[in-house]
């Protein structure tokens, strides 16, 4: 029994089980990677290439010969015909041809000869010297959406809190990243690495991304249901509940109260309960709004928003119920919880937002509604089953690990359908990207959606786990997804909607700097940790002493901190841009309102 299991394991790994002293023959399982075979294959490929070249050239020569023969036959017939023509006819044809060759456009065929006049006011701006000679001028947002004031205020509340948590959370992240280089930066227990790391992750999860998502969702849910929000005060209450959860949770973590160290589950249950109540109120509010919609169909975005909320509520309940969490029960739940936290909440909800904000930014419909539906149900089916891929080779049941790996590969289906949908929507509007400050963020988000998710699926395989698990590669992956996908798309949505709602544009230069700093910073972060993580994994496989792998990471940690600094600076600029978009207009002089109020009084 044990043998068969072991054999299965080995087959699953694709590793050779042969040992030098018992099996003297070369390991045939690896035949395809032996130098002799690879060399032979290369040589055959070379010969085949030459053969294909020769055959190709022979064939093309043959075709050319055939074509030439046909042409010369045509010429012969023309010649024999020309001899029979009259001289005058030939001259007339020649003159006509000469005149046609001389013809040139005058340049006024379309405008006519009168002075140009924009009587309908269609042209917003004509200039011969653009603001910036290096990049395309970004289009200003001309569309203003009449938004009910309470909705606008609610959105600004949520988005404002999100911006605050982004700056705070990444400041903490930056500080924690620097501790890898200077472990003695401080000696204060409240600021120690172990306590601050969950403060960083939980703040950007439950503070930044969640707040931004819910705020942006309110607009979508109201707009696509063609009705007002069910209750604005419920929205406010949920805001207080969720924000107080983040404040309180961080405070407790820093003072040393940790639920058990499972990632994203570090807040103790009373704090999680606060957050969950906020989610439940939000779900209720969204659901009631959709139920009161004035059109018969539920727009695809709302599938994702409602789905994301109901799934996350279920998830938090399962994650915190105590009756199956002793021993390795906790570990099963941990894998499930931490993966679904990302997949069912952030990813699902953000996809829902993209289904609304991306097509509206492009001013055209989504490419395929059905692909969106397919992605929705496969997201639920596959994402739910893959949590245990965080514990490959652990003492958890082998079947659970295998299911997780198989369905991780299945994740290609929702990812490919989503990416196709978004890219096909963007197709034909590529030129709009350089002229818009919103679309570059969407493009990066969508590309990372494919790259980050596909890379995650590949990372779940046993062989890749072998090298990358437990290394900094995981950290790179989570930033690629939570930052590259979620954060970039949330930025895109915020830049897309706020000017339409408030009527105020962010400074174009500010948006440009924000985009490039964040993008380049993310790359530095990702590449350094992926390279370092791979080297570290290989060092462990080689059986080198552990401290060697710490020393080899040093330069990569420095590069990570540099990338992280760029990301953090970009958030400061983003915060300023947000302020520009959201700031209150100067109140009208109160003289005008005074008589009115006195009348009412």
């Amino acid at each position: 029994m044990k043998r068969t299991t072991l054999l299965l394991l080995v087959l699953g790994l694709g590793l050779s089980q042969s040992q030098a002293q018992t099996v003297p023959n070369p390991a045939i399982e690896q035949w395809w990677s032996s130098p002799g075979i690879i060399g032979t294959a290369l040589l055959i490929a070379l010969v085949s290439l030459v053969a294909i070249l020769i055959i190709g050239s022979r064939l093309s020569a043959l075709f050319q010969g055939l074509q030439k023969r046909a042409e010369s036959r045509k010429k012969e017939t023309l010649k024999s015909e020309l001899v029979n023509w009259e001289e005058e006819d030939l001259d007339w044809i020649l003159e006509k041809r000469k005149a046609a060759k001389k013809y040139q456009l005058t340049g006024t065929e379309l405008t006519g000869k009168g002075n140009s006049d924009d009587s309908r006011g269609l042209i917003a701006k004509v200039t011969h010297d653009p603001e910036n000679p290096l990049v395309d001028e970004k289009k200003k947002e001309t569309l203003r959406m009449e938004t009910p004031k309470p909705l606008r205020n609610l959105m600004i509340w949520y988005l404002g809190a999100a911006v605050f948590w982004l700056v705070f959370g990444t400041l903490v992240g930056q500080y924690v990243g620097m501790k890898f280089i200077w472990p003695e930066m401080d000696q204060i227990s409240w600021l120690s690495f172990g306590r601050l790391r969950p403060v960083h992750t939980n703040t950007v999860f439950w503070g930044w991304a969640s707040m931004a998502m819910v705020g942006l969702g309110y607009f979508v849910i109201s707009r696509t249901s063609n009705t007002g929000i069910f209750s604005y005060s419920l929205g406010k209450i949920a805001w207080y509940l969720m924000n107080s959860a983040v404040v309180l949770g961080n405070f407790l973590l820093m003072s040393g109260v940790n639920n058990g160290g499972g990632e994203y589950r570090e807040y103790i249950w009373p704090v999680a309960l606060l957050f969950a109540s906020g989610l439940i109120l939000t779900f209720f509010n969204y659901y009631k709004t959709v139920a009161a919609r004035k059109i018969s169909e539920i727009y695809i975005s709302n599938w994702y928003l409602l789905g994301g909320l109901i799934w996350t509520i279920t998830l938090v309940v399962i994650g915190y119920l105590p009756s199956f969490q002793d021993g390795l029960g906790e570990t099963v739940i941990q894998g499930y919880y931490m993966h679904q936290g990302v997949g069912m909440w952030f990813m699902t909800f953000t996809l829902g937002l993209t289904y609304y904000y991306l097509p509206t930014s492009l001013n055209k419909p989504i490419y395929s509604y059905s692909l969106g539906v397919l992605a929705f149900w496969t997201q639920m089916l596959f994402y739910t089953l893959i949590g245990t891929h965080h514990f490959v080779f652990s003492p958890l049941p082998w079947w659970l690990q295998t299911v997780a790996i198989v369905f991780s590969a299945g994740m290609f289906i929702p990812v490919v359908s989503g990416t196709t949908n978004f890219l096909m929507t963007m197709k034909g509007s590529w030129s709009a990207i350089s002229k818009s400050y919103v679309l570059p963020f969407f493009l990066v988000g969508v590309v990372f959606y494919f790259v980050g998710s596909a890379q995650g699926s590949l990372q779940a395989f046993r062989l890749t786990n072998f090298i990358w698990h437990f290394t900094d590669f995981n950290v790179a992956h989570s930033h690629m997804t939570m930052y590259g996908i979620i954060t970039f798309i949330l930025w895109a949505c915020m830049y897309a909607i706020l000017p339409k709602v408030t009527g105020k544009e962010p400074p174009a230069l500010g948006v440009g700097i924000h985009f490039w700093l964040a993008f380049v910073g993310l790359f530095a972060y990702m590449i350094s940790l992926m390279t370092g993580g791979t080297l570290r994994g290989l060092s462990w496989i080689e059986g080198e002493s552990f401290i060697n792998s710490v020393i080899l990471m040093q330069p990569f940690w420095v590069w990570r901190a540099i990338g992280g600094s760029m990301m953090f600076v970009s958030h400061l600029i983003f915060a300023y841009n947000f302020y520009e978009m959201a700031k209150k207009e100067k109140p009208l002089p109160h003289k005008i309102s005074a008589p009115l109020s006195s009348v009412h009084a």
Binding site: L6, L9, L15, Q17, A20, A27, K179, P183, E184, F193, R197, P198, L253, V257, N258, N259, G260, G261, G262, E263, E266, I268, P270, S296, I298, W303, G307, I310, W311, T314, Y320, F324, Q325, D326, G327, L328, G329, E330, T331, V332, Y336, V373, M380, L381, T384, H390, F393, S394, P395, P397, F466, H469, T471, N474, I541, G543, S545, I547, V550, W557
Partner: protein
């Protein structure tokens, strides 16, 4: 019938039920099953001091950087004798109290080493205390945080018999005339770390490691050609305290370079100290016994390495000599 796009009740109910069902199958039921495992026969329950230490471990979130799982692949063999089993976590992964759940000890990052068997690898209390106070005292390249708040400085007059004085050199203290005393939290944490050892399963009972594809050198027979690398063994076993330079740490671990005992032409005392430990000099920390951890060949290789490095010059120690001394100690 399936008009999800028009019926919000149906849409939300289906999404909820589908997810709840899948979650039950993939998470709740397996979790319930995993709870059913029983502890291994030789396992001991954590005592109250160790439990207190576990709470400090969670509170400082040591799980962020340290795993406690030996995976069933060969590269993890350095962290334990056998791959971890579900039963190994029977006592440590229980709900902590009303507020806090069972700790996520398995971890997901190995920024620092795995701690499954740290109690065996680093048995000395002084080493742990120094390492917690400032890891760079004992491991120069470490990036682990210091935990000075688990210690307090006391003037010499205030130090009582009960206090655990940490042998740290004076220049690392704020007041060089003071002494460093470990707080109860530090002692509990060290007690917990010292308790971390895999329970014995007996030979061939535990699961096997999946062998790697790495080419292994074929060991030739005979003790002479075992090719035991004294340097490698020394860095794995001894250098955490005595340091790679052989200089030790002043006030905590004695130097081996130029040591009279190490350079003695007769290796009996040196081998005896390695075999059965040593705690006779109050100015230094206690040396744990290695007789049960290391074979005669390994001890001979380590002793020979020590006697021929850092300027030391003394004759080779053979496994036979070690075996003889081991027998002598046993007979005493």
């Amino acid at each position: 019938m399936f008009d999800f796009h028009k019926n919000h009740k149906l849409l939300v109910a289906t999404a909820f039920l589908g997810f709840a069902m899948l979650s039950t199958v993939i998470a709740v039921i397996p979790a319930l099953q995993m709870q059913e495992v029983k502890p291994l026969p030789g396992m001991e329950e954590l005592n109250s001091e160790e439990l207190k230490g576990l709470q400090v471990y969670v509170s400082e979130n040591c799980m962020a950087c340290h795993t406690q799982q030996v995976r069933n692949i060969e590269m993890d063999q350095v962290w334990g004798e056998r791959p971890s089993l579900a039963s190994d976590y029977y006592y440590s992964k229980q709900r902590m109290d009303l507020w806090r759940q069972s700790p996520s000890l398995l971890g997901s990052e190995r920024t620092g080493p795995d701690l499954t068997e740290v109690g065996k690898r680093q048995p000395g209390k002084e080493w742990h205390l120094l390492h917690l106070y400032n890891p760079r005292i004992v491991v120069k390249e470490s990036v682990m945080p210091s935990y000075p708040w688990l210690f307090e400085e006391k003037s010499k007059a205030m130090v009582t018999q009960k206090d655990e004085v940490v042998p740290v050199s004076a220049e690392l203290l704020k007041n060089p005339n003071h002494q460093l005393v470990a707080k109860p939290e530090a002692l509990a944490l060290v007690a917990y770390l010292q308790s971390l050892v895999q329970a014995e399963l007996g030979q061939n009972l535990g699961p096997d490691f999946i062998p790697s594809t790495r080419k292994k050198q074929v060991p030739a027979s005979g003790a002479e050609s075992l090719g035991l690398d004294g340097l490698q063994l020394y860095s794995e076993t001894c250098s955490a305290c005595h340091q790679p330079t052989g200089d030790g740490i002043p006030g905590a671990f004695p130097p081996l370079a130029g040591s009279e005992i190490v350079n003695d032409p007769d290796p009996s005392i040196l081998v005896q100290i390695i075999l059965s430990g040593y705690d006779a000099r109050p100015e230094f920390g206690a040396m744990p016994e290695f007789g049960s951890l290391l074979s005669d060949e390994e001890i001979a290789a380590i002793a020979t390495h020590e006697r021929s490095s850092w300027g030391n010059q003394a004759p080779v120690v053979t496994p036979e000599q070690v075996a003889e001394i081991r027998k002598f100690i046993l007979n005493q």
